[in-house]
Every structure is written in C-alpha cells, then in structure tokens.
C-alpha cells in the first residue's frame, strides 16, 4: 500500500508537470517573434493575403481558444496539422522519434557498459596508475563537446580512412521494405560514438565517486572482515548501493542526451527530432514546434518518473520507509 501511495503521488506529479509544461510551451512558442503566415508567403505578400492565410490556419482565434483546441486534441494523441503542408503533426513526428530514439537508446546502453568498469577501476585503484589513467581518460572525454568529437571522428574515419560514411542515415527497413542492417549500423557508428564518449565520461566520474563512498562504509568493512574479497564485497554490496546515485545520473543524462542528440543530428545530418525541430522553428511552423517540444518534455518526464520508481526496486529500504 505504501509503495502504492508513492507510485500514485509520482503519477500525479507527472500529470501536473505535463499540464504545466503544455501551458509554458504554448505561451513561449507563441511569443516567438515572427509570424508563420509572413514566413510562408514570404516577400511581396500583401496584408490581405497574410490575414487570409492566418484565418485559414485558425491563427486569428484568441490564444486561450487555440490552447484548448491544441491541448484537447493532444489528449487523443492528435498533435494538430502542420501550418505549412497540412500534414498531421503526429504522422510527421512519429518517424523522427524512432530515429532519435535509436541514437539515444543505443548510446545510453553502451555508455554504462564503458563507464561501470572504468569507474570501478578508477575507484578501486585510485591510488595507482591504473586509476589515475581511468580518471584522466574520463576527464578528457568530459571536456570534448559531442559535436566536436563528431567532427574529429568524421575527419578520421570518413574522410581519411574512408571506413564509414561521413553523414546521413539509413532506415533499418527502407521504403521498399528491404532490410538494410549493414548500412543502418554504418551510419549510426560515428554519431553514437560521439555521444558515448561524452556520456560515458560523465558517468565514469559518478560511478567512481559512488564506489569510493561505498568503500568506506561499515558494511563493506564488515564484509571484508568476514573474509570476502574486495571485488566480491564490492559486487555484493557495492553495486546495489552505488546504483541509486548512478541511476539518478543516468536519468538526468538521458535528458541531456536528448538535447545532445539534437546537436549531433545536425553534425551527422540525421533526420531525427532535432533536425525537425530546427526546421520547424526556422519556418515558424509553430504547431510542429509545439508538438516536438511536447514530445521531448514527455520523454524527459517519463524518464524522471521511471528513475523515481526504479529507486523502489533497487532499494528495499525505500519501500518500507513509509510504513514506519
């Protein structure tokens, strides 16, 4: 019941955040200088045709009416229609989510695989050269922006060595229904790598400090006292305890990874959410901007929710806390 209550509270906070976010997004996007009708019609458009187009797009309605129309539709999964092409925004955004998701999910799966061993090594051997090396490597990775890493990777692996394509994207299953796994992977290697370099470096720092903390805990010393090896004690008690802070960081990292992906998509010309967002902003296709930002906010909130809920799974103490 108690963990049930915790879950209920979390869900409530989630829904409220989503609602507040939708208002904020709507207001900010609509306060952007520049007008979609002017942007569409461009040069030489007379005021009459601009007014005409605004009316056709429903932009002459009061702000409040437009907000509720948009938010109401959103509850049914309908993000509206693009001002520019009249296409459904949901249909426009859905394939983009897939592209960005590949990038983010693959990076996030690889980053801990690099960071956990590296971070543990840095913690366990922190007074020897191995630990110092691990720390230095992560420090260097941390100080390189993802886009810069991307450019360097392209110069080395695409321009000089010609092992991989410089940019672009191939769907796993192309328009004709043909599977293209090789091309799909080739196009993702460099963008994923440039995200992983930064992400795993950040994560390594956190893993290291989480484990250093564990090493000085009483339960760790006790485990050692009853004859467990350092690694076994660390594995048995350390991982779970360190996991709380590492999972928190992974949750936060996922959010920054989404933003990082937007930049990396530009460098590698990947048609994901970031590319779609930038072109919609440039064209003042505000309804598409609202839709994409909403999707991003939704993703971040879901990640936070899952992070919160995962504490309950990882740490039995939290489950029992409310019972007292």
């Amino acid at each position: 019941m108690n963990s049930g209550r915790t879950v209920a509270v979390r869900l409530l906070v989630f829904a409220a955040s989503l609602f507040v976010a939708s208002i904020a997004i709507f207001l900010v996007v609509n306060a952007l200088p520049g007008d979609v009708a002017t942007a569409i019609l461009g040069f030489g458009a007379d005021p009459a045709s601009i007014a005409d187009l605004r009316a056709r797009l429903g932009l002459d309605r009061p702000l409040l009416v437009r907000y509720f129309a948009w938010a109401g539709n959103m509850l049914t999964g309908n993000l509206g229609r693009s001002y520019l092409t009249s296409e459904s925004v949901t249909a426009l955004v859905a394939p983009r989510i897939g592209v960005t998701a590949w990038l983010v999910v693959i990076s996030m799966l690889i980053a801990p695989l690099v960071a956990l061993p590296l971070g543990m090594l840095a913690a366990m051997k922190r007074r020897s050269w191995q630990g110092a090396t691990a720390s230095t490597v992560s420090q260097i990775g941390l100080s390189i922006p993802a886009f810069y890493a991307g450019i360097l990777l392209v110069i080395v692996f695409a321009v000089t060595l010609r092992w991989l394509p410089a940019n672009g994207y191939t769907e796993l299953v192309d328009a004709t229904g043909r599977w293209r796994p090789v091309s799909f992977v080739q196009h993702l290697v460099l963008p994923v790598l440039s995200l992983v370099i930064v992400q795993s470096s950040v994560l390594t720092r956190y893993v290291r400090s989480a484990f250093i903390e564990v090493l000085s805990e009483d339960y760790f010393r006790t485990a050692r006292a009853v004859g467990w090896t350092r690694w076994r004690a660390l594995w048995r008690h350390g991982v779970r305890n360190a996991a709380i802070s590492v999972v928190t960081v992974i949750g936060l990292q996922l959010a920054t990874l989404l933003v990082g992906a937007i930049v990396v998509e530009q460098v590698f010309r990947i048609p994901g959410l970031g590319t779609a967002l930038l072109s919609a902003v440039a064209n003042r296709d505000l309804i598409v901007v609202q839709g994409i930002v909403m999707v991003l906010v939704f993703a971040v909130l879901v990640i936070n929710l899952l992070t919160d809920l995962s504490y309950l799974l990882i740490d039995p103490r939290l489950r029992g806390r409310d019972a007292r």
Binding site: G34, L41, F43, A282
Partner: protein
C-alpha cells in the same frame, strides 16, 4: 508590372548549394545491374513542395524544368527559349501572345499537355496564395485555348516582365489531376516526384513517358545539408560527386586535386545588397549614402567574406541579366571623400543600426562594414536576427537603418520601383523608367532598364557589396553542369555522368 521576386529561402542561403553524387555510400550493398543514380545535395530543404504556398527558392531549385515544365525556359545565357511551347507569336500591340504547343507532350501521369491543360495550369497559378506569383501574373486579362495545341494569352497592358516570369515558378504547368501540390507534385518534366524523407532527402525518378530527350538518370536524389561543412566532408569522403555552389568558398583549396575534382566558377543572380532604409532621416540624404559607399572597400570585403570569389557589380544587375553593365567603380574606395561628404551633409556622430539575417555572407559582411564605417566616424550597431524575425521586423515593419541580404531572383531590379518595398525608396524617375521599359519593345526594355540601373547606382540607392559566385565542384565523372546559374532551377536536363 512586377517581375522580380525574392524568395525567402533564396535570400537566406544565396543560391542554394548543391552537390551531386553517384548514390553509393561506402559499403552499402548495390545490386550488380546498378540503376543509374545521381544524388544532388542542396543546402535548404523545401518547407513544402507547393510553390503557390511558399516563396522558398528550394522549391524551383528542385522542381522547375525537372518536374514541372513551363511554356518557355531560360537557357544558360539567360535568354528565353521554347519548352512546352515550340513558338510564340506576339501581336503588334504586344498584348496578345499566341503559344503553339509541343506535339505529343505528356504529363508523367500519361495525360496530354494540350491547350486545355495549359489553360488550367495558368489559371491555377493565377489563383495562387502567393502574392508574388499573383502579381507576376497580374497583367493577364484572359487565357483561352484556340484549338487543342494553341493557347492565347491576352494582357491588359504590354509587359516584358510577364513573359519572363513565365519561365519561372509562375509559369509552371501543373498536371490538372494534381490534388496535393504540397507533397505530391505532378508535372510533365523528364523526372517525376518519387519520395520525400523529411529532414534528409527528396528523390525524383525518371519519367518514362517523357516527350523529349529522356532523363539520363533512373533516380536523382536531392540531399539537404544545413551545414556546408557536412556537405564538404561528404564530398571528401567519397559520398558525393559534385558540390554545386559551395557555400564555404574558403574550403575550395580542399578540392585542388585536378585528377579527382573539377572546379567550375561562374555567376549567379545573387546580389548581396546592403540596403538603406530611405525613410530614416540620415539615409534619406544622398551625401550620406554616397559617403557610406565611398567608405567601404568592396574588393577587400569580397576577399575577406567570400575568399575573393564573386564579382563587384555596383548596381542591381547581374551579368546574365540583359541590362547589365559594370558599375562597380561608381564609388571607388575613398575614406577621405567619405568624411568630406559627411561634413558637407552636416552629419556628425552618426549612429546606425545594421540588422542582418543570420547567414554567413550577411554576418561576415556586417562585421567588415562596421569596422570600415567606424574609420569615417559612423558608429554601426550590428544585430543578427533569425530569418523569420528579420522578415517580420525588417522586411515587413521596416524597423532598421541598414541591412544586408542577397537578392537572388533574376531580373528583380523592378523591386526598386515599388515605394512600399522594404527599402522605402521612392524615386518617380526610376518608377517611370521601369514602367516604360516593361511596356516597350525588347530594345527599349534593355536600353531603359540600363538607364534605371545607372540611376540606382548614381543615387547610391543601396551599396551592392558583391555578386555571389556560382562555385561548382565536380568529380571527373560528371559533366554538363551549367557554368552560370541564370534561373532558380537546378537544371538536371544537361547533366550527365560517365
């Protein structure tokens, strides 16, 4: 009356950069009986494919002459040539045009391009939402089919600009069966629209029913690179065969290996114009405008901003426009004279706002201009605006003193005759010249427009900083890319690959 049209995207990117590649990304599996493919990379992706909805230059770049055809087209020297019309006869009073249509021309759908379809096509454009197209077609009084292969267009007044605009977007003949121009364009060109992967590329397929010389490629893919360096690395890594119109001329040296690459350099119609707001009190004075023109070393600016590629023009005309002459020495670099003129005008401590769209040529030029004007005692504050904001605040609301934008539309000098246009330039003498030129014979047109161009230069109506070059980089396999970009089309019909 109005012929020139500036396209918002065109302004942003200059004439959009294009790259071409034989499709293969390294390592992708290609079947042995490889279909002939071409990958054309460009800078800006069209926001929509409906040219009646949007002025984006990326739309004619992709569709004009390739997917949509026009009655008449512009050749590589900027002359009007037959396309869907084999010939046209003009009445003695220059108000009635009789077009004789190409026999056997068909849309990609198989429907004949007959007189009825052409009439329907012109009528469709006349009801366009784009005010630009509407005004270009405004001289038309009536369009009718005389018989199945003859179309008669009657104008309410003679207009040289009208026939010219029929070579551009306004003249595109759309298949009458088209229902969705925004995502499924249908025309009669050598290529037909195939697929659009948003944020990435648009693919055209060979129109197997094409009436003329068939397209030389089975598919042509336009790939869009927002970042010019991404396009360059794609070229260097072997993903591309051609970069047409390089947007980073400083990187030209990377393609110096003549065994691998060919560099073609020509002209565009992209006039990088530093416009003055003529309703701002200081800039309404001729001496102040002249002082600014004298104060700027445009040769040095071109070297700094565009690595010396491009040329100085001095007025609102490009070499591929019929009324062009070199007026670049009207105001040679002379800071002392600039200071003297400012003193004569009684202007001291002049402060001006230079509000530019965020695009490389504009922001780089702005910095250069700022430092040179400082030397003659003019304080310039630079403000960079994203293009939509620029469009609303500078272009529509006229809230600026000076701005820098490339006017890429061919033959757009006529914009200076519109006092409501964002420069607020109101010169009755120029307006009379432009009007007379439009209504006159073709000789009159050239002569009078030349006078108009000279008048603009002498009046220092703007400071034309330079003309954007057409910089094409190709691999040795590709041939036939036009040296000069005379229209907004990236014309695929001349391009071949070994």
């Amino acid at each position: 009356m109005v012929s020139g049209r500036i396209s918002r995207r065109a302004l942003l990117g200059g004439t959009a950069a294009i790259a071409i590649s034989a499709a293969a990304c390294s390592g992708t599996s290609t079947p042995s009986a490889t279909p002939k493919t071409l990958s054309v990379g460009a800078t800006l992706e069209p926001p929509t494919l409906d040219p009646t909805m949007s002025d984006a230059a990326s739309i004619p770049q992709l569709l004009l002459y390739n997917v949509y055809e026009t009655l008449v087209k512009l050749d590589s020297d900027g002359n009007i040539k037959p396309l869907l019309a084999v010939r046209w006869d003009v009445s003695s009073d220059n108000t009635s045009y009789t077009f004789t249509l190409q026999q056997g021309a068909k849309f990609a759908s198989g429907t004949a391009v007959d007189a009825a379809a052409v009439v329907a096509g012109i009528q469709r454009m006349r009801t366009s939402a784009s005010a630009t197209i509407k005004s270009q077609l405004a001289p038309i009084a009536e369009v009718s089919a005389q018989d199945s292969s003859t179309v008669v267009v009657t104008l309410s007044q003679p207009s040289n600009a009208w026939l010219y605009s029929m070579t551009s977007t306004a003249g595109m003949i759309v298949d009458p069966a088209t229902t969705d121009m925004a995502t499924k364009p249908m025309g009669s060109g050598p290529f037909a629209f195939s697929t659009w992967t948003k944020g990435d590329s648009i693919t055209l397929a060979k129109n197997t029913k094409y009436w003329g010389t068939p397209g030389r490629f089975d598919t042509v893919t336009f790939r869009y690179y927002v970042d010019p360096n991404a396009m360059i690395t794609a070229m260097l890594s072997g993903d591309l065969d051609i970069i047409s119109n390089l947007q980073a001329p400083q990187s030209l040296s990377q393609f110096a290996d003549t065994a691998k690459y060919t560099v073609v350099e020509g002209t565009t119609t992209g006039k990088v114009t530093m416009g003055f707001n003529h309703s701002s009190p200081a800039l309404a004075q001729l001496k102040v405008r002249q002082a600014i023109c004298y104060a700027i070393d445009r040769k040095a600016l071109l070297n700094t901003v565009w690595a010396g590629h491009g040329q100085l023009i001095g007025s609102h005309a490009a070499p591929t426009e019929p009324y062009y002459e070199d007026l670049s020495s009207t105001y040679p670099f002379d800071p002392a004279k600039a200071k003297a003129l400012l003193a004569e005008a009684g202007v001291a401590n002049l402060a001006l706002r230079l509000r530019v769209p965020v695009t490389k040529y504009a922001t780089d030029s702005a910095t250069f201009v700022q430092s040179q004007l400082k030397d003659v005692g003019i304080t310039v504050t630079i403000e960079q605006l994203d293009f939509s904001r620029w469009l609303t605040e500078v272009f529509t609301n006229g809230d600026y003193d000076m701005t820098i934008v490339a006017h890429v539309e061919p033959r757009d000098l006529v914009k200076w005759a519109d006092p409501k246009y964002y420069w607020h330039y109101n010169n009755p003498q120029l307006q009379a010249l432009v009007k007379e030129a439009d209504a006159g014979s073709s000789d009159d047109y050239e002569r009078l427009m030349k006078q108009a161009s000279e008048l603009l230069a002498e009046d220092a109506a703007a400071d034309w900083l330079f003309l954007l070059p057409n910089l094409v980089v190709t691999t040795s396999a590709v041939t036939g890319v036009g040296q000069n970009a005379t229209s907004l089309s990236f014309d695929l019909t001349t391009i071949a690959s070994q």
